[in-house]
């Protein structure tokens, strides 16, 4: 059917008008702040001294951040957090998904319980774990004491070496269901005939897992590694609610440092520079992962 060109032009114009509000909002809320924060990262901008305005300092903010030892300590802590969260989270996620892939009684109920942490808002998760970790009335202390694992209640967040581990556990509890969902969908997509053929050839359960399941799940593993790295690198809510970066900065990750710089010290220029350095670090990670994934895929092909 022939559509007159004037009619098509009118439809296009109308389409632009209708999506214009969305584009304007996207520009104002996403693109403009992004560009503006990049711009002010090259300026000395202290909001508490408004009469000075913005003073162009070139790369000084970036150099100061890179020379700041506390920044690199925060990066290292974040790496520790990320590596623990990724390794343990993916391992547990796979184990739970393998279990849920079997025939179980009340499988739907178990699945709902497993997924429950994922639907909680992060701040609710944090407040819940605050109660669990309470040094006088917490569930964790109560259970460990009753079972005889500890002789006395422990103030988990009062020690620099235990505080970050407790945070990792709280984050794992909420983040693992995401891995479960992805692994479960991956497991469901593996044809059963492959396992039958392997059984006929005399392969054991472990061999089936190692030579069939794991290789076929590799794309999902790589996606999870990338996504969990990005998500964990920018973790904030849990740490803000539970420790605020303490004790003695032992849980101060990069996002908390940026928060302090911008909202406590009001140094927006330096905080913006930190954000872009963090962006660079995460981007490097993602590129490394993608390269590894491509090399693996080529070698397998």
């Amino acid at each position: 059917m022939h559509i007159p060109s004037t009619l098509k032009a009118n439809d296009r114009r109308l389409g632009y008008i209708l999506i214009a509000p969305t584009l304007i909002i996207l520009f104002l809320v996403v693109l403009y702040p992004l560009l503006y924060s990049f711009y002010i990262s090259f300026h000395n901008m202290n909001v508490a001294i408004p009469w000075k305005g913005r003073i162009f300092v070139g790369f000084d903010n970036y150099i100061n951040v890179i020379q700041d030892i506390s920044w690199w300590k925060a990066i290292l802590r974040t790496f520790y957090f990320v590596i623990s969260d990724v390794l343990v989270g993916i391992t547990f996620g796979l184990m739970i998904a393998l279990l849920l892939n079997k025939k179980l009684i009340m499988k739907s109920l178990i699945f709902a319980i497993v997924l429950f942490p994922y639907v909680l808002p992060p701040i609710v998760n944090a407040l819940m774990w605050k109660l669990i970790y309470d040094s006088n009335y917490g569930l964790l202390n109560g259970m460990l004491y009753q079972f005889g694992f500890i002789n006395d209640y422990i103030a988990w967040f009062s020690k620099t070496n235990s505080a970050i581990i407790m945070l990792i556990i709280a984050n794992l509890w909420q983040g693992t269901p995401f891995a479960v969902i992805l692994f479960l969908s991956g497991l469901k997509s593996i044809p059963l005939e492959i396992y039958e053929a392997a059984r006929i050839d005399g392969s054991s359960s472990w061999q089936s897992f190692r030579y069939i399941t794991l290789p076929l799940l590799k794309p999902i593993i790589y996606i999870l590694v990338v996504m969990k790295t990005i998500l964990t690198f920018k973790i904030f809510d849990l740490i803000y609610a539970l420790t605020g970066g303490g004790p003695a900065n032992s849980t101060q990750v990069v996002s908390m440092k940026i928060y302090n710089e911008s909202f406590n010290f009001l140094k927006f220029g330096r905080a913006s520079a930190m954000s872009y350095i963090l962006l660079g670090v995460v981007t490097c990670f993602v590129i490394i992962y993608m390269k590894l994934f491509e090399e693996k895929k080529e070698s397998e092909n």
């Binding site: 009619l7 103030a155 967040f157 909202f263």
Partner: protein, 460 residues
């Protein structure tokens, strides 16, 4: 969206009306242009968008004076009732935006100041914020409205909390300090006849309380790596005769009493073991809860602690707690820290006179009396503290008033927040035994000098 948006559009400026009519006409013509099959649906959609957009723009043209403010959820019912009373008395409506506690209100306030300062007309200001807000030109000076009567009536430390460089920036509202509270029954159960007056007594009595099985830990403090740690350190340091800065703002807290105070804090957890180790992560709320639950025998607490501790809905130690003077190193320096807060006016407000009417209503002597009796707010006015009705309504006020002679404020400097965050980090390094108290305080002095010189260079 204003409920009177149609009326507001009608009353709005000529430009608003002309612009809206032109836009409406153009969109109408576009939608109903020949050959446009979607005209009716798209016309309705665009009309709805237009109405929504202009509702936002025309709210500014509302004729009645309304004041806006922002606060946390703690005192909302009381505030709302007072706002109604204020509206009945003056015809000025006050709108309250409620947000979570902490620095969230400060962040929103600062954002509004950066955008001109007319979003919030009046706000609660902490003494540690006065220098920053006044220095940055965000808070309005209220000198012109301060009368000799007000100057005469105000408690000195409350006045210090509301002033910067000789100018007033609000009226005191919650002019509180930390009081020493002890559980008299627990002390008697442990065979102790009086409350501790020195820090040595705190240790000795504490160990007695613990050894006799009355409590597991005799006390706890709010030593989380936050502002609460600075407050407690300020109190302890003053009670050891330490000081923060001299008149030229040269840091002195790595000398003398301040170092001894930090050493005592470290030893109280690790050597004497009379302070709950969880104090390192506790804020005031957790310490209050521990006292209310009967887990500890004494604490230092803001406001009127006996109001809370004698409330059967919240406390399991009703009638057992009493107020005493703060312990000190020799019993002669029972100093504590103050935390006066007040109501201030934004420099960008479009209604300064009305804003002052509100501040006077809620934080002046009359308003402060209402807050003291109904809400347990600590008054900064002598007339209110001496009022028999207030004294009858607040248990322990007479004992608390004795503390009023021995009060210190935290440093009043424009760079206080950055100093506070970094100082808390260093104190925590000492508390968690990563550094000795002397090392930690020496590094804190270096950081402070850096912050101070950066600020001075930036403001030159």
């Amino acid at each position: 969206m204003s409920e009177n948006w149609i009326w507001c559009w009608y009353k709005g400026g000529e430009k608003v009306k002309k612009y809206s009519l032109v836009c409406f006409r153009n969109i109408f013509l576009l939608c109903f242009k020949e050959g446009n099959n979607m005209r009716f649906k798209s016309f309705v959609l665009v009309l709805v968008l237009l109405i929504l957009s202009f509702s936002i723009f025309v709210t500014v043209y509302a004729a009645d004076v309304e004041l806006n403010t922002i606060e946390g959820p703690g005192n909302v019912p009381f505030y709302l009732s007072r706002f109604v009373e204020f509206a009945d008395e003056t015809g000025i409506k006050v709108n309250l935006n409620v947000i979570p506690y902490g620095r969230d209100a400060g962040i929103k306030l600062i954002s509004s100041f950066m955008a001109g300062g007319d979003q919030y007309d009046v706000f609660l200001i902490d003494c540690i914020e006065v220098a920053q807000y006044a220095g940055a030109g965000w808070a309005m000076s209220v000198d012109e409205w301060i009368t000799p009567d007000l100057e005469e009536d105000i408690v000195p430390f409350a006045k210090d909390g509301m002033m910067f460089k000789g100018h007033w920036y609000g009226l005191p509202y919650a002019s509180e300090w930390k009081s020493f509270v002890y559980n008299d029954k627990m002390l008697k159960d442990a065979g102790l006849v009086e409350f501790p007056k020195t820090w040595n007594d705190v240790v000795e009595y504490g160990q007695e309380l613990q050894n006799s099985g009355v409590v597991k830990y005799s006390t706890a403090f709010s030593w989380a790596q936050k502002e609460c740690l600075i407050c407690d350190f300020a109190a302890l340091s003053a009670s050891f005769d330490g000081v923060f800065f001299n008149e030229d703002l040269e840091p002195l807290f790595n000398k003398g009493g301040a170092v001894e105070a930090l050493q005592w804090m470290v030893d109280s957890i690790n050597e004497y073991k009379v302070v709950d180790p969880a104090s390192i992560m506790w804020t005031e709320d957790e310490v209050d809860a521990a006292m209310q639950n009967g887990d500890i025998a004494y604490q230092i607490s803001w406001g009127y602690p006996l109001v809370r501790l004698n409330d059967p809905d919240r406390s399991s130690i009703v009638g057992q707690a009493k107020i005493g003077l703060m312990p000190s190193v020799d019993g002669e320096h029972p100093y504590t820290v103050s935390g006066p807060m007040g109501w201030a006016i934004s420099k960008g407000t479009k209604n300064p006179a009305e804003a002052w009417e509100f501040v006077k209503f809620i934080a002046g002597p009359k308003g402060s009396k209402v807050a003291a009796i109904r809400q347990g707010m600590f008054s900064g006015w002598k007339s209110v503290l001496n009022d028999p009705e207030v004294q009858a309504g607040v248990p322990g006020l007479e004992d608390m008033a004795k503390q009023a002679e021995y009060i210190v404020n935290r440093p009043i400097v424009p760079w206080y927040h950055e100093f506070s965050v970094k100082f808390a980090e260093k104190l925590h390094e000492a508390l968690t035994l990563q550094k000795s108290p002397q090392e930690a305080l020496n590094e804190a002095v270096e950081e402070t000098l850096k912050i101070k010189s950066e600020y001075e260079e930036a403001t030159r």
